[in-house]
Symmetry: C2
Subunit: 364 residues, 2 copies
């Protein structure tokens, strides 16, 4: 029996549109992969944690479809999200004579997806790629929207491109092997969609957070669907992040500073975003844009998802300012923040009181 | 007195359209540069040969317009067209706190343009850039069409992106300091436009080749204009090289093999293309698509432009095949060639007689 996806969603970007398939055990549906490979060769990129678990499934799909393939297995972790990893992929592509009709397949979390997508964007000026995100974070976030890239010692995601995949295959079965800490990190981004865009979804999350933490796959599928829908909707309006798309970065300006200050990989991205969101809500509250109950409910929900809500005490306000001033959302020296005007409504603004920002930085 | 461009040409690519300005001493027209800078900062990328000659002119334009700038001076030569040079630019951008509103300015030949354009394409997922090509080759070729990128030890231009500049400023005055050998290399690409698209232009080149070699700036401006027009027309139809654009690569499949086999930088790109075009014409002639006079006239014109027309004897047919099989125009293992159906009409085809190819490789 072929397992059909529970949900299919189309990301509408003109001639760069692509589908997202969401379902349980859908990696066993071999055609889902092979139907989206146009040439006769492919390269699977994965990491040392994910490859032992799921590489065989993907390889089998390629073998059954008579697609020649190679694989590149990277070490696991954000510290390897570097140009050096991209070069390693490109070395393999050239050594194994993959031409511009080849397809890269990203099998892993957001790091693998970002590296692989960027390698696809720049190999021979662009080859096809497929995303198979295996973490909740990458299923709800990094696999939608075409942001690819790597880190630089001076800042996260400083090197990259906007580049869209041929399709995304999100198999909730892969979440069964996901460590709890990473499930929580993914839920931070899920909660973000409620905060920025969808009050009802926030309510739904408050109701279902326990079952989500227990990996109920039908509830997880629903959470992934709503998150991807919200993101797809926003990205379709603003693919290159010249305007509204920036609201997807709620908590990220603070969060990136935390990640940088603590050293890449010590805080998970979702953990830093969770605390960053609390800080963004704190700053919104100090402007009297939201009442204290929004931040309180959010803190409770994040705690129920086992996420950190306090800024690490060793990061001083000055250090925050220093890290945030090289954030991509800086415009002519002024740091822009994504803040809430109400629960379910975010804005990006440079029009905030810097004295209140200092309070947020020292008191969060 | 402000010096106005002799010619202005628009490259029509929808919201990525941009103008090309061609004229003598137009780098002294400061507004041409500053009008195309949207933010308040810029980084000039040049090389050790060009910077001493023209960096001051560009710096002055930025100073007069109150634009903060830094510069990166790379060593000169194709051997430095590497990811390491791109990283050097990105290190400077980050160190000097250039945000995503900055503009990169490529001041130099094709190598500087390709590296800088690629750095612009991937820095913070894309910042603006301006091309100031200072060689004939880059004025007629690499500054039009948005191909950016760097070499890999295993092949030319294997890493890159399609990325369009805000404008191109081609000052024929910069050709006065261009070594004769590089002027010739540029003329190889100019002659290519006659061969693939414009028999009358080929005739015009035969008539005017001596004055062009003497750097008559009005004739050079005309040659640049026609070349850019032809290229812009073809690129507008096929920006990402899925079809007709490939005819711009006449002579390049053979030429890239020569460049690789001889070691980057020993043969200039234009020199390798000149010989490669003779080989492509030879193969076309062996298929009886063109008569012997086309190749003979081309050889004579190339010789008048002081360009090589014979394949280096040390490259064996097997070596050619080896290098050509990793060319980007390989499709499922079959090497495609750009060949002539008549003077002024090129096609890209995999439908050739491989026995005739072997003859071309061993007898050219």
């Amino acid at each position: 029996m072929t397992i059909q996806p529970l949900h299919q969603l189309n990301v509408d970007l003109g001639d760069r549109s692509y589908p997202i398939f969401i379902g349980h055990h859908i990696l066993d549906n071999h055609q889902l992969i092979s139907d989206y490979i146009q040439g006769s060769s492919a390269v699977i990129v994965s990491n040392t944690t994910v490859a032992p678990l799921y590489l065989d499934k993907v390889s089998q799909a390629l073998e059954l479809a008579n697609i020649r393939y190679d694989s590149v297995i990277l070490p696991d972790g954000e510290t390897f999200k570097t140009l050096a990893s991209v070069e390693l992929i490109i070395d393999t592509l050239l050594k194994k004579r993959h031409d511009r009709k080849t397809t890269l397949i990203a099998l892993g979390g957001g790091v693998v997806g970002d590296i692989t997508g960027f390698a696809a964007a720049i190999y021979q000026r662009g080859v096809n790629f497929i995303q198979i995100p295996t973490t909740l974070l990458s299923q709800v976030d990094s696999s939608v929207g075409g942001k690819t890239g790597v880190n630089h010692p001076s800042g996260k995601n400083m090197i990259g491109a906007f580049y869209q995949p041929q399709c995304v295959i999100a198999d909730t079965h892969t979440l069964e092997t996901l460590p709890d800490r990473e499930l929580s990190a993914g839920l931070a981004e899920v909660i973000k969609y409620g905060l920025i865009h969808d009050e009802k979804f926030f309510d739904w999350l408050e109701t279902n957070i326990e079952k989500l933490m227990q990996k109920d796959y039908q509830l997880l599928s629903h959470a992934i669907l709503v998150s991807c829908q919200t993101k797809a909707e926003i990205v379709a309006i603003d693919e290159k992040e010249s305007g509204i798309r920036a609201i997807l970065n709620l908590g990220h300006t603070f969060g990136h500073a935390i990640e940088s200050a603590m050293g890449y990989g010590n805080w998970l991205h979702g953990e830093a975003v969770a605390t960053g969101m609390v800080m963004a809500l704190d700053l919104s509250e100090r402007h009297h844009w939201i009442g204290p109950e929004v931040k309180q409910r959010t803190i409770q929900l994040l705690k129920n998802a086992h996420l950190p809500v306090k800024s690490p005490p060793q990061i001083s306000p000055e250090q925050y300012m220093d890290y945030m001033s090289i954030d991509k959302k800086v415009d002519r020296g002024v740091i822009k923040f994504v803040l809430l005007k109400s629960l379910g409504k975010a804005i990006i603004t440079a029009d905030y009181d810097s004295a209140l920002l200092t309070q947020t930085l020292s008191e969060s």
